[in-house]
Symmetry: C2
DNA sequence: TTGCGAAATGACAACGTTGTCATTTCGTTA
DNA sequence: TAACGAAATGACAACGTTGTCATTTCGCAA
């Protein structure tokens, strides 16, 4: 009473202050052209004076939509920043905000749970960022009225999916080796549970088999340089090892350091390719050739896919965003 | 008609199906104990059968709150993943979802604009992630009914802020050098516009001046290894240079490589400290001592600060999350 | 000045939920 | 069995906005 009221300012308050009807205020905001200029000015001054801001809840209730896209982060990894960046930028561009929830560390979350939680939040559609397998992946069915896109390399029976072409990227790298006269390619994987590691391995295997080459036993890494180093020490002793594909750049660097410490040279003795193309940030004059995925583009595609499907949530598509081989000098051409 | 209706299922539909009143459905959901078990079961079966999901808009409209915290990303950098992770986890824990918007690449956005946009979205409070200066920083006033926390190293006249203690971290690193007999410390900055770089420089300067040491001209870097390498080449020629503080690990690594290429050894000839403690991911057996900030903790604190302030949006506090010096072997003790 | 169609404005219901208060039902005791 | 208090349920209004349709006002031609 004596002090200012906490109560929010409603359109009705503005209407009274401006001496017009509530509906006219609504119009002044949403269809400015249908209101006489003098009226519009009155309304805007009143809004200004009272500090009116549209009530999101009331508006969405009436409209039946929110203008928000849900994002579920099952996993938050390095490349995720760029992906989120892409999602957010694309959302911004199309006039959507993002509603985000996250799987808590340690906790398990199924797609069904995520969908149920999201569907109680202000969202018109949703994106799941799924980099590891979940129990109900195959049986999951998205709410019929809520367009759902899953970012994952796996194919899903009913939902649209968007993914980097991990397999293709790995194949590309292998063929790059093979086309330059290498007879075989060793592979160092990332963490076992990561789908990206699994897919990269699959692509590597497929590329070799397509040429009738028996893939050697892959080496198990954990994404970090030290595991690459350990793998490098092993590989240094294999005389037939001329080409190494590491599932990321950090491990690739580990491999290179191990080879150097064993007196071998990259690329003269052994050629190496990594993934992600981020070594140059950390290593001056980096020579590592690397497969780079366009995470930002991935996010943009995912968001666009959701928005495109808002009217037809049951539509289904599969988008693959191809990788790019960033060529430096860590691969030797044996044919030369 | 013939096919299924698109129309959403409301509590009223459930009520009719279950043969109870609308209010009883509401109670079965929100205060299960106030409803007889048999009734509750009827209601739940009906909900299940019809696929009922609470309408967020209606609920928030009635309750006057959303259960969402807004996050504005002015800038999306590397450490941001962990911070978002912290924010999201803390939000989850306290039963909040996140509503996110982002400054578009290239576009300029003021705090006032961000606040205006956010206040039209479903949020009870908001967090601004601000890593560079904005025009209206000092004049900005947050909406009086919306608790606002800014993540930034700058102090703000009216809003709560949360930040890594960048300055303190830099001071800590310098003192670590000085306490080990180094007479001076060279500094390599990150990108000019980054507040974290500015603050790290400020802390470095302050630490030296506190001991009566004239800080040498800082070297300008850009966060990447190559710029560190260039700086390292310069420093290698300075006979008085025994200690180098680089504003991040990548540049620190660049420095170390340059020194090595110039025939100098780390730490025997020159000692080096970096920031962020992430070199070990990329470099096997990394020896770099580094100041690590707890970005995740930063996010958690920011979210908790918002939630704590929901009832008193005009409260103001300043939180500094201290850094940690992760000690490896890149610093020589000259007193020995 | 009058009349007309178009433009501007207004009254009222509706969106789907929860709070308030009234009513019904239940289990217990007299 | 009747009467009572507590527990369970229901009727209705309200949250703040937008859509529908009715009404008023305006500009212009007759």
């Amino acid at each position: 009473m004596t002090t200012m009221d906490k109560k929010n300012v409603s359109m009705n308050d503005v209407a009274i202050a401006a001496g017009v009807s509530l509906k006219t205020v609504s119009r002044a905001i949403n269809e400015p052209d249908s209101v006489r200029e003098s009226t519009r000015d009155k309304v805007h001054s009143a809004m200004e004076a009272l500090g009116f801001r549209t009530n999101f809840a009331a508006r969405s209730l009436k409209l039946g939509r929110y203008g928000c896209i849900g994002v579920v982060l099952f996993h938050l990894s390095g490349g995720a920043v760029d992906m989120i960046d892409g999602i957010a930028d694309a959302a911004e561009e199309r006039g959507f905000a993002l509603t985000m929830i996250k799987k808590r560390a340690g906790e398990k979350m199924t797609l069904a749970e995520a969908a149920r939680r999201m569907s109680q939040l202000p969202v018109d559609g949703m994106i799941f960022n799924l980099r590891q397998m979940v129990d109900d992946f195959d049986t999951f069915e998205a709410p019929k009225d809520l367009k759902t896109v899953i970012i994952t390399p796996m194919e899903h029976p009913t939902c649209s999916t968007v993914s980097d072409d991990q397999e293709g990227g790995a194949r590309m790298a292998c063929e790059y080796f093979l086309n330059r006269g290498h007879k075989n390619v060793y592979f160092i994987s990332g963490k076992k549970e990561a789908l990206s590691s699994q897919c990269r391995m699959k692509g590597w295997r497929a590329a070799l088999e397509a040429r009738g080459i028996e893939p050697p036993e892959p080496l198990q890494g954990d994404w970090n340089a030290d595991s690459g180093y350990a793998a490098g020490l092993v590989l240094a002793d294999k005389p037939d090892c001329t080409a190494v594909l590491a599932a990321n750049d950090c491990m690739a660097n580990g491999v290179m350091m191990a080879l150097r410490d064993k007196g071998l040279s990259v690329p003269d003795d052994v050629s190496v390719i990594g993934f992600d193309d981020e070594l140059y940030k950390t290593i001056p004059n980096s020579i590592l050739t690397s497969v780079k995925f366009r995470h930002r583009e991935l996010g943009v595609r995912a968001l666009n896919e959701v928005v495109a499907g808002l009217e037809a949530p049951s539509s289904r598509s599969r988008t693959l965003v191809s990788g790019v081989l960033v060529e430096r000098s860590s691969v030797k051409d044996l044919r030369a």
